[in-house]
């Protein structure tokens, strides 16, 4: 193997992991992330409309290649069959896997679901209640946000990134701000790093509380659902008190932070977080001793370490399978000194492990916030620093790559810019990374367990569809 594929294979057989793949007009670029969290690029020129596929080397690139094929018309030699992902309207047999046999049939669900959920279409291939295979057709909410960013000023495009997804608004915004600041040769001083870390941990807290509530809802455990929904509400009220927005939107800007919290505001926040933590721990204990609830979680929707690695699963779902990767370990542009990931005692990769992982990370986030909120927060600006060169980026290219561990895992934001304008923006969110794992976890499970499996990942559609 030589050239593009050879370079990717070499990097992957070393210590790098697959981070993202995206197309511009004339090139396809693969982002690889080193063990220290530093990203690098390997590019392949599009020749006669196509490039070699790397999906055999990095199965995690499957959706990325399909997206690039649909949105940029690039062919990927060796990726076969190339099923449409973003493009809708294909015949059923062209976008689903063929499943046949005695009594096999399909159950179609969505795009409008039964609950208050985002829109997307699932096609379950089943025999009786047993799911043989699941094809997910998302991108019903494709708003063309990345394309709309092109040509905008860097600071202006932040609005598009922050409104991509409310649940991951801070994560996405920090990843984009990082990428911009790399391009602009700006460095966040410690105060800016601290306030951003506080924001992303607040986002993790409300999301994890929400996820526990959702998992309870997934099995009809009304008391747990209600208890954690009430805690989610309190966390969102705290967000509002601190930043003026319940989803912390607008709090992250490129190169600066206006947030100014005096000693009493910081103390009130820390006290409220303590109180939420106490109540969450109480509710968690109640659920821990509810055997009928716990029985519903164990052994369901398993993604073990091997499959998690192959599929490129990120975040709590990966750690619940025993993979110890957490980008907070090497987030030099945030305040995570001495951070070590919380790892489960039982890394079974099932719904129970993902559920328990949420609690482990919740307690850790409360600890982190307790330390970070020990003094007032003042407005701060990024300072001029050395220009960041991404290995593999072309000589004249201004490229920045932000990598942030959000509530759902690693989000990678790639920015190509010129003269302070966005040329190309690619937001590869943790939800984008993990959706294939939801489908994989569903195979072999019972159809009525799908809501539970789905909730144990609790991915956003908005983050994928963009």
């Amino acid at each position: 193997m030589s050239g593009y594929r050879g370079d990717v294979a070499d990097a992957l057989s070393g210590s790098a992991i697959f981070g993202a793949l995206y197309a511009t007009g004339p090139v396809v670029r693969t982002v690889l992330i080193g063990p220290d969290g530093s990203p690098g690029l390997i590019s392949a020129p599009v020749v006669e409309g196509s490039v070699p596929s790397i999906v055999d080397l990095a199965p995690a690139a499957g959706w990325d290649e399909r997206e690039a094929a649909d949105l940029y018309g690039v062919g990927f030699n060796g990726h076969s069959p190339m099923r449409p992902l973003v493009a809708h309207g294909a015949a059923l047999e062209d976008w689903t896997v063929r499943v046949s046999g005695h009594d096999a049939y399909q159950v179609a669900v969505g795009p409008i679901h039964a609950g208050v959920i985002e829109s997307g279409h699932f096609r379950f291939h089943v025999v009786g209640d047993r799911i043989l295979h699941l094809d997910a057709q998302l991108f019903y909410k494709h708003r063309g946000l990345q394309a709309a960013a092109e040509g905008r000023r860097l600071r202006e495009a932040m609005a598009l990134v922050a409104r991509t997804c409310a649940a991951c608004s801070v994560t996405n915004a920090i990843a984009y701000a990082d990428a911009c600041e790399q391009v602009l040769a700006l460095e966040p001083p410690s105060e800016l790093r601290r306030v951003r870390t506080i924001l992303v941990e607040l986002e993790r807290v409300w999301n994890h509380l929400n996820d526990v509530s959702a998992i309870c809802a997934g099995v009809g455990m009304a008391a747990g659902n209600a208890a954690f929904a009430a805690l989610t509400e309190r966390a969102r009220r705290l967000n509002d008190a601190l930043t003026g927005h319940r989803f912390l939107r607008g709090a992250v800007q490129v190169g600066a932070s206006d947030l100014d919290w005096d000693a009493s505001a910081v103390r009130r926040a820390a006290n409220e977080l303590d109180s939420v933590r106490t109540d969450a721990a109480r509710a968690w204990r109640e659920l821990a001793f509810n055997a009928s609830f716990q029985d519903r979680l164990a052994g369901v929707g398993v993604i073990d370490a091997g499959r998690a690695r192959a599929l490129g699963v990120v975040g709590p779902a990966a750690r619940a399978a025993g993979l110890d990767r957490d980008e907070r370990c090497h987030s030099g542009r945030l305040s995570y000194d001495g951070f070590a990931p919380a790892l489960p005692e039982r890394p079974d990769g099932d719904v129970r492990a993902r559920y328990e992982q949420r609690a482990l990370e919740l307690w850790q986030s409360f600890d982190l916030l307790g330390m970070l909120l020990d003094r007032p927060v003042t407005a701060s600006r990024a300072e001029p620093g050395p220009a960041v060169r991404i290995p593999g980026a072309g000589p004249g290219d201004e490229t920045g790559i932000g990598v942030v561990e959000g509530p759902r895992g690693r989000t990678v934001c790639i920015l190509e810019a010129r003269d302070g304008q966005v040329i190309r923006l690619q937001l590869r969110t943790a939800s984008f990374a993990n959706w294939p794992a939801v489908a994989a976890a569903a195979a072999g499970s019972l159809l009525p367990d799908f809501p539970l499996i789905n909730k144990s990942f609790e991915l956003c559609y908005a983050c994928v569809d963009r």
């Binding site: 809708h88 795009p111 409008i112 039964a114 609950g115 208050v116 959920i117 985002e118 829109s119 991108f139 019903y140 909410k141 494709h142 708003r143 063309g144 946000l145 394309a147 709309a148 609005a159 598009l160 409104r163 991509t164 997804c165 409310a166 649940a167 608004s169 929400n210 008391a223 747990g224 209600a226 208890a227 929904a229 009430a230 989610t232 509400e233 969102r236 319940r246 989803f247 939107r249 109540d279 109480r282 509710a283 109640e286 659920l287 001793f289 509810n290 956003c460 559609y461 908005a462 983050c463």
Partner: protein, 175 residues
């Protein structure tokens, strides 16, 4: 478990929610949101606001719904599903547009992918502005809908799906 239920009961008492009468079955439909409106709508049914307590329930099918509650600006891919959901509803039926996107305020995205606000496709009876509206604002707006009657006297119910001219049988009138 008893502790948990007791805690929730205490919260309920502290909040001292008012009593109302009447009911509305609501079907939510996301046509291109950022997920923020959904998250707030979910909490509007949570213990702090508890919509169901006022007779405002989320139902699984548009066939059971009085109100279609739409979030997001309509993407080109969701317009058919939205129309179908509306067509599947019995009359009288009402449409509520939830959030600035659904109202066409400050839309972001590519013109090819975003059609525009809900009113472009469906008649909107209730507008709930905000980005996103808080659960409180959502609850308050829906209470308003509960208090008001659908526009027009004597609305046709039980009309079969599709075109009215096909089989205009089984009409009942309510006032």
């Amino acid at each position: 478990m008893f502790t948990l239920l007791r805690d929730l009961r205490r919260l309920r008492r502290q909040l001292d929610l008012p009593h109302r009468t009447g009911s509305l079955a609501i079907r939510h439909c996301d046509v291109g949101s950022c997920n923020g409106c959904e998250h707030e709508l979910t909490l509007a049914s949570g213990p702090h606001y508890d919509l169901s307590r006022f007779g405002l329930g989320m139902v699984a099918s548009p066939r059971h719904a009085d109100v279609l509650l739409v979030t997001g600006a309509i993407t080109s891919r969701m317009s058919t599903a939205l129309r179908r959901a509306y067509e599947a509803m019995p009359e009288p039926r009402r449409v509520a547009a939830l959030g600035d996107c659904a109202l066409g305020i400050g839309l972001l995205g590519s013109p090819d992918d975003i059609l525009g606000p809900v009113e472009l496709v469906l008649p909107v009876d209730l507008q709930i502005p905000g980005c996103p509206p808080t659960p409180d604002a959502i609850a308050t707006a829906l209470f308003g809908l509960l208090a008001s009657r659908p526009a027009g006297q004597g609305v046709t119910v039980g009309r079969p799906l599709g075109s009215a001219d096909e089989q205009p049988t089984g009409e009942r009138r309510i006032d």
